[in-house]
Amino acid sequence: MDYHLSPDKSNSEEQSTYPQLSLNQSEEKVWQDFTRGSNTALSFIYRKYADSLFNYGMQFADEDAVYDAIQDLFYDLIRNRHKLGEAKNIKSYLYASLRRKILKSRIKHKNELSQSTVEDKMAFKMAVSHEDPLPLLNVNTEDLQLLQKACNQLPEKQREAIILHFYEKMPYEELARILKVGKVKSARALVYRAVENLRTMLDGHRDELIIVLIGFFSFRQF
């Protein structure tokens, strides 16, 4: 049985496509087959989400911890596959579980982490791209640096909220689930606060600057 497995992992074109947000027909079938024991379905799910999970995990932990967490996450799925219900949203489920596992292991290894590691690993650190896709508008290096600084002054959780919402395309319900904020409106409030913070931090500069610069920044992780 073939589920149109994604092309080679090394295919860079695949990487630039934004991952789909909600389940379409074929994914429901894949998930169902997985719960019934299909290894093909398992492989499909792994291949589809491993890289983006890795990407996400690397925001708050080092390679080894992320590998362990990803493997562990799938082990749990395999162990409980018969009990799993319909997949309402595989992606956010995986993200939420990964996040929980990584944070748990972080608490465990808190004493082992050196101070420097903790500092270097500022999660969801942002960088402002130097590319200029909107030549009509005037932007200089100083403006970009200012924006970068403002973004990195946002609390970690707000940065994460922004990236999950806009890059990973998670709607607020899923955001709430992943960030464990209880209510959907709390997730919404996070994004709102982030954006308002940016607005405040950049206040006093031309409105145009704010608008344009925000359009330029991207996130970089270490």
Binding site: L42, A50, Q71, F74, Y192, I210, G215, F219, R220
Partner: protein, 345 residues
């Protein structure tokens, strides 16, 4: 606040706007394009907001190094296989093939899943597989565990053959008599039951199957769930629980009939169940159940109907119970039982 007063930062927080930009919703798209036409002064804000959302990305998408990706992948598959063996779900399959003492050969099926029946027993290739054989004497019910974990309750006077290991693409066993199966589900390896006259292949859940070789009629009774019956050359039949498919080899037809689940399957719980059964059949059952020989005095009418239920009772108690309502006395001498009319001796 109205859309007309929105700045770019407001747009990026608007759900409907996001629906268009992030989720490519058609309806939303139509709205926003129209709205832009009506409000050209807002066009730039809109586009910047759109640009922002689209440009939010990882600067360098991180990707797992090939070797780690593969290593984890292999671990997962291995874990999945190991786990499958330990924790697979079980199907409840009761298989009953009953032979009547009438001349015509009849197969009765009630299935809970898709079953394929081949009338002739196509001989399989001769392969040197180590086979295990378990035979039960009359009254000798016992459990058997198959190499894949499937649990079998073998009834008395039955025989089951199976390989030490299910190596090929299917799990095949030979049955003569009656058994209740709780089959470990494995959609990759169908479970096949062979008997002298036919083959039953289980692709799904539960059914009852019983095959007693020497007699002329064969019944396959299967239970629970909805089932499709297929037989080569015949129209498939859809069944629900308590329906049996009756296959008549003479007329070569497949027909659905009601049947009493309890009478067919109660044995596995040690229950003797008689539901409006003629005494002849009652005594027959008792003979098999207790491994005795019953001789009935000619004054007793074997056509008399009896109904009753006994669980794990001794032969004496059962005979006493039946005799009480049916009006006979009995005597037991080792394996010899004699039934005679009340008052006589």
């Amino acid at each position: 606040m109205r859309y007309e007063d929105y700045t770019a930062l407001d747009f990026i927080q608007d759900d409907f706007f996001i629906k268009w930009v992030l989720h490519e919703d058609e309806e939303a798209g139509l709205f926003w394009k129209k709205w832009m036409e009506i409000n050209p002064h807002k066009r730039e804000e809109l586009l910047v907001a759109k640009e922002f959302i689209n440009r939010v990305s990882y600067e360098k998408p991180l990707s797992m190094p090939e070797k780690d990706f593969t290593r984890i992948h292999e671990n997962l598959i291995r874990f999945s296989d190991q786990h499958a063996i330990r924790e697979q779900g079980r199907w409840n399959i009761r298989v009953s093939v009953i032979s009547w003492s009438v001349a015509a050969s009849v197969l009765i099926f009630v299935f809970s899943m898709l079953i394929f029946i081949k009338r002739e027993n196509t001989p399989t290739a001769e392969v040197a597989i180590e086979m295990q054989s378990i035979i039960t004497p009359k009254a000798g019910r016992r459990p058997v565990k198959l190499p894949d974990g499937t649990m079998v309750k073998l009834n008395g006077n039955s025989k089951i053959n199976f390989p030490r290991e299910f190596k090929s693409d299917y799990r095949e066993i030979w049955l003569e008599g009656e058994a209740f199966f709780e089959v470990v589900s494995d959609s990759t390896k169908p479970f096949i039951i062979r008997s002298e006259d036919f083959t039953v292949e289980v692709v799904g859940t539960s059914f009852n199957y019983r095959a007693i070789g020497s007699e002329h009629q064969k019944k396959v009774a299967v239970v629970s769930g909805k089932v499709k019956v297929k037989s080569p050359g015949l129209e498939p039949l859809l069944l629900t629980p308590d329906l049996m498919a009756v296959y008549d080899s003479k007329t070569k037809g497949l027909v659905a009939m009601k049947f009493d689940v309890k009478s067919v399957t109660s044995w596995k719980d040690g229950i003797l169940y008689f539901n409006r059964m003629p005494l002849r059949a009652v005594f027959n059952q008792l003979e098999n159940w207790y491994d005795v020989h019953i001789e009935v005095s000619p004054e007793i009418s074997l056509k008399d109907i009896y109904s009753g239920e006994y669980q794990n009772e001794t032969l004496q108690n059962v005979l006493y119970g039946i005799g009480y309502t049916s009006g006979f006395d009995y005597s037991i001498n080792g394996k010899q039982v004699t039934i005679y009319k009340n008052g006589n001796e």
